[in-house]
Amino acid sequence: MIDLWNSLPSLVQGILKGLAVICVIFPIAGASSMAERKVSAWIQGRHGPNRVIVPWFAWMPFVGRFLQRLGVFNLLADGGKLLFKEDPLPGHVKKFFFMIAPLLGLVPAFTTVTVVPFGAYLDQAGQLVPLMLANVDVGILAVFAVASLGIYSMILAGWASNSKYPFLGSIRASAQLISYELSLTLSVLPVFLWINAPGQDATLSLVRAVEFQSGTWQGLTFASWGGAWFIFIMPVSALIFLVALFAETNRLPFDMIESEADLVGGFHTEYGAFKWSLFFVSEYSHMVVGSSVFILLFFGGWNPLPWLPLSTLAGWLHLQHWPVVVGALSIVIFLVKVLFMIFFFMWVRWTVPRFRYDQVMRIGWQKLLPLALGNLIVYALAIAYLQPKL
């Protein structure tokens, strides 16, 4: 099967990969929106959507009823509604920019998916081969560079809407997103300082970050650092990255862009059925990609436990000669972690109240940025001191 893949012309490979991204991310975004409704309902003591059922599923004895209570079919109902509803194009908007703004939001959201590894398998020689759509060496830089372009769609949507609330929403969006970019990028630099030892080839690849966390327990020596996840070694970095990630994906407590109480809908007020759903697909896919990067950098990626890498687990289960099974196992482990992160996003959303605009700015520039800089300096010194010993 791998030979069949390699024999296809690269254009066909590219088109298939693009289609795979679309066909995977849209359902994930839809499922995330349904999960959001259910999780938020449960936290508030309600049930959430639990009535929609497709007729031929209602006949199945237990599974049908279970899925109905879980609200799974509501996703189909919502998707159908958004697709067939009247898509409003108000008379007062700038039509061309109004229509391309959601598409401009989707492009960076989907492009970042291509450079994020989501699993790995062991090939014949026992080498770890990552599963990703584009194994570029500038991994993390590509993610940050392309994800920053997502701001343009919000600014364009607010501007093209030609109305008060979207305008204010997009102004706040641009202010918030550019404020937290710096802390976001500075907080991951200690990770890459650690990975890139002097004398070796330098890399910004996310795969190397996971490989660095794939060590085993070597007793109470410095060699055991190889198996610890970076969240144990660099907790402050992880915290800064997490806070900045919440701000970059416009999730509460940094929700002031869409703060429904005072801005109706922010930049997506004037948008209706399908275009509005495209904004939310891009928001959820940013969340998914952000969670994936967080997991890859700080939580060991596809390794099951700290000091228990994937290769050891494959060895225990005698799966070394079945790369497909190892790959599937790694994808499952990675997905479980990402799903937990998405649940964490929703959990925090319904726990913490929203920050005001001035509080967001103050935290971004006066608290988080100095902390990120200080963190970088501390780790740079620590790594310079410890590197010869490791």
Partner: protein, 183 residues
């Protein structure tokens, strides 16, 4: 009244990061997540109706099976939106309930007008009309939403009677007549 100055302790360093407070909040919401839900899943689960609930007005029968309404029309006159329409009628002199003065020929309550105030129940001298527990009434046409006498007695059923006033009145009249005969 003495003035008590509230001492606000300055926040510790950890408290100023707000992380302990966020963690405590997350613990609270997690407990809520795992708790039983407050929602009542209508129509599978119905709410408990408290006593004295003012639902749809109904006509009741007494334990002897007699229809209690005597078409005095007090409820028709007191009803604020004029939802009740009564046509009074005679009771045949050979019927077992002939000692009761009259009974309604027709009794209609237009539920599209009824405001569930309960004034008809308060004013009825016979304790014949009661607002009971039905809270949900729907129909496809205006005619369907008018409850006639038969429907009202169906909805009302039988309620206990502490007085049996017509039977008592009849018994007292018979005693008086017997005393006159004797004396």
């Amino acid at each position: 009244m003495p003035v008590v100055t509230l001492q606000r302790k300055p926040l510790t360093f950890l408290e100023r990061t707000y992380l302990p407070q966020v963690a405590a909040g997350l613990w609270t919401t997690l407990k809520h997540l795992l708790r039983a839900k407050e929602t009542l899943e209508y129509p599978e689960q119905r709410p408990t109706i408290p006593p004295g609930y003012r639902g749809v007005p109904t006509l009741v029968m007494d334990p002897n099976g007699r229809e209690k309404c005597v078409s005095c029309q007090l409820c028709e006159f007191v009803c604020p939106p004029k939802a009740i329409r009564i046509t009074p009628g005679e009771i045949a002199s050979d019927a077992p309930t002939a000692h009761v003065e009259k009974a309604p020929k027709e009794f209609e309550i237009d539920m599209l007008r009824c405001i569930y105030c309960g004034l008809c129940q308060e004013v009825c001298p016979e304790e014949a009309i009661f607002l009971q527990n039905q809270y949900s009434m729907t129909g496809y046409s205006r005619a369907e939403m008018v409850n006639n006498k038969q429907r009202l007695y169906e909805l009302g059923g039988t309620l206990p009677d502490q007085h049996f006033k017509w039977d008592q009145k009849k018994a007292a009249a018979e005693e008086a007549a017997a005393k006159v005969h004797q004396g």
